[in-house]
């Protein structure tokens, strides 16, 4: 893609007094993209979003929107619009007043504001009779739509979403996630969505940016983040995963050779495509997702395998989760498609195995 990025963040630092919050963040966002900033609370994702919106200044580094440096540009003059975590609907204005407020500030004549508010109401699938009500009288989901409408009416170049769904119950959250995705597709505006919920990010975003302690750990498409994490923290951030310590002997362009004291693997090599880019010889982790592990029948051939004892069985409905302890005392999570008869019993000694195409080798980190 040769087009200039709509948002260009380069080497941004932020500290409050002596405590650093952002330690050098660089990120390019493409036009029309839906990008999610994900990380645990305190990772700096909200600070970064507020810097883009203009509510926080940067200690050093630059933020450019459409190539224009935003340093010193107040929030009111930036081509961005934010949906706040607490929605921040004005309690003293009606729904119509809230949605039309950005236009009113831009001195648009009232006669032109009304039809545009109506358009937004239709886009957000809100009932027209809500227009004269106050936000308090609306349900959580409806308030959410009003907040989105208010943010969209001024046709921003960047829509910034600060965990707007975190306060909603699971069912409503699902509905609004679908809504957001539809909205993104239909209006073509670039979305920057902050959330601590990686699953939500996976569902919505084109690219995900995982942050931790003021740094970007990994930036990639959802499948990269899920199957090819470059950092054990990213690997463990969504769902359950198994990280087995191995020792890497050599890394070449074709394959990586490793050694393990408990994984039975005839050759001990991994194709280059299944290895994180920054992997070097030395200690490493082998990641296998629980749903890719299965029981190996006696005499069956499997790329990698080890023996373990089943210590726990959780029936989840469609699938059954197991906990197994390997002979070396390591805990392993396994998820197997449910059948009417349990494939493994509690306390049973079994052989568990997985295919080489399903593994991923990465460098051990702090986590």
């Amino acid at each position: 893609m040769t087009e200039a990025p709509i948002l260009d963040i380069s080497n941004v630092h932020k500290s409050y007094g002596a405590s650093p919050v952002l330690k050098g963040v660089s990120l390019e966002v493409r036009r029309g993209e839906f990008i999610a900033l994900v990380g645990p609370s305190g990772c700096g994702k909200t600070t970064l979003l507020k810097q883009i919106a203009g509510f926080e200044d940067v200690t050093s580094g630059t933020i450019r929107i459409e190539g224009q440096d935003m340093a010193g540009v107040p929030a009111a003059l930036r081509p961005t619009s934010m949906v706040f975590q607490k929605l921040a609907l004005f309690p003293h204005m009606t729904v119509a007043g809230n949605i039309g407020f950005p236009l009113k500030l831009r001195k648009v004549p009232p006669a032109e504001i009304a039809p545009r508010v109506d358009d937004m109401i239709r886009l957000m699938e809100l009932k027209p009779e809500y227009l004269t009500r106050f936000p308090k009288a609306l349900s959580g989901g409806e308030q959410q739509r009003v907040a989105l409408a208010r943010s969209m009416i001024s046709s921003p170049k960047l829509l910034l979403l600060d965990e707007p769904l975190s306060a909603l119950d699971v069912k409503l959250k699902k509905v609004l996630q679908a809504e957001l995705k539809r909205l993104h597709r239909s209006v073509g505006v670039t979305f920057v969505h902050v959330t601590h919920d990686l699953e939500e990010a996976m569902m919505l975003a084109d690219r995900i940016c995982v942050m931790r302690a003021g740094r970007i750990l990994q930036l990639g498409e959802p499948a990269d983040i899920y199957y090819r994490p470059t950092d054990p923290f990213v690997a463990g951030f969504i769902g359950e995963t198994n990280l087995l310590p191995v020792t890497v002997k050599s890394v070449t362009a074709k394959q990586t050779v490793y050694q393990s004291d408990e994984i039975a693997d005839a050759k001990g090599n991994v194709p280059a495509a299944m290895v994180a880019q920054d992997l070097a010889a030395g200690p490493a982790l082998m990641m296998v997702r629980p749903e890719l592990i299965r029981r190996v029948a006696d005499g069956e051939k499997m790329d990698c395998s080890l023996s373990a004892t089943v210590t726990e069985v959780f029936t989840k409905g469609g699938t059954v989760q197991y906990r197994a302890r390997t002979d070396k005392g390591r805990e392993l999570a396994v998820e197997i498609q449910g059948t009417s008869a349990l494939p493994m019993q509690l306390g049973e000694k079994v052989r568990l195995g997985w295919q080489k195409k399903d593994i991923w080798l990465l460098r051990p980190g702090e986590a």
């Binding site: 509510f55 009111a76 706040f84 921040a88 004005f90 003293h92 500030l105 001024s154």
Partner: protein, 266 residues
């Protein structure tokens, strides 16, 4: 003691003390209202008869009307100044974090816990010394200044409650919608704080309107209702006073009710 007897006793105590308190608070007020309708010249019971004649006298009494007028002017100006200063101080004291916050809160609220008569005297000394240097006398202006010093902290406390319940993210949201500094105040901050500001203004008005101590020290020869009545009591009660009281009570209770209504809405 079993629980039911205890609960009964607690109810008797709580309801009884509330009833007693309300009667206690309204004894002098109703006494004054009752006496305002007496016919005779002496403020003693039993009445010689009921009449509205002292109300008529009141509206023909130039000093009384003058006092009423002075009270109103002082209260209006003091209210405007005290509410403005108090509102700004409340935002600073609650919303911002800064060096010297404690000192600011203490300084801005200090006159609340300072006896009014002493405040009046301290200010009288100050204005007398300044007046001698710069050639002015105490009068209506110094009285207004004294009232503002005393009332602004009250206004600050009342508005502070409203500021405390006002989420500053709304101001961010307004800025995000394209509002400049002044727009944020005009469309968001002031409308949302309005119930608090409004009730602060009403309380300020009533505090100033009924203020005796500061006016007494600082108004020079200017008389307001409270000092007018005080100077009269010292010589001997006049049958006019209950009528003045009743006239003063009516707008007072209406304003307090209005302030409470506003606060509930906000």
């Amino acid at each position: 003691m079993n629980h039911r007897v205890e609960a009964r006793l607690a109810d008797v105590l709580l309801y009884g003390s509330m009833a007693a308190a309300l009667i206690f608070f309204y004894v002098p007020i109703f006494t004054l209202i009752a006496f305002s309708f007496q016919e005779g010249r002496y403020l003693t019971l039993p009445f010689e008869g009921f009449s509205l004649k002292w109300y008529g006298e009141l509206f023909r009494s130039a000093p009384a009307l003058n006092a009423l007028w002075n009270s109103t002017i002082i209260a209006l100006v003091a209210t405007l100044a005290a509410t403005t200063i108090g509102t700004m101080a409340a935002i600073v004291a609650v919303r911002y974090r800064f060096i010297g916050k404690r000192a600011f809160q203490g300084l801005s609220g200090a006159p609340l816990a300072f006896p009014q008569l002493l405040l009046g005297i301290v200010l009288l000394l100050w204005f007398s010394v300044l007046g001698r240097w710069f050639g002015f006398n105490t009068g209506i202006v110094t009285a207004i200044i004294g009232h503002v010093v005393y009332i602004a902290p009250f206004a600050m406390v009342i508005v502070a409650v409203q500021v405390y319940n006002f989420d500053p993210v709304l101001e961010d949201a307004a800025r995000d919608c394209g509002a400049g500094t002044w727009d944020v105040y005009r469309y968001v901050t002031i409308p949302i704080l309005w119930p608090g500001i409004f009730s602060a203004a009403i309380f300020s008005f009533l505090l100033s309107w009924g203020n005796f101590y500061l006016t007494y020290s600082l108004a020079g020869s200017t008389r307001t209702i409270p000092t007018f009545i005080f100077s009269g009591i010292a010589i001997g009660s006049s049958p006019l006073y209950p009528a003045i009281a009743a006239v003063v009570f009516v707008p007072g209770i209406l304003l307090v009710i209005l302030a409470n209504r506003m606060r509930q809405r906000g």
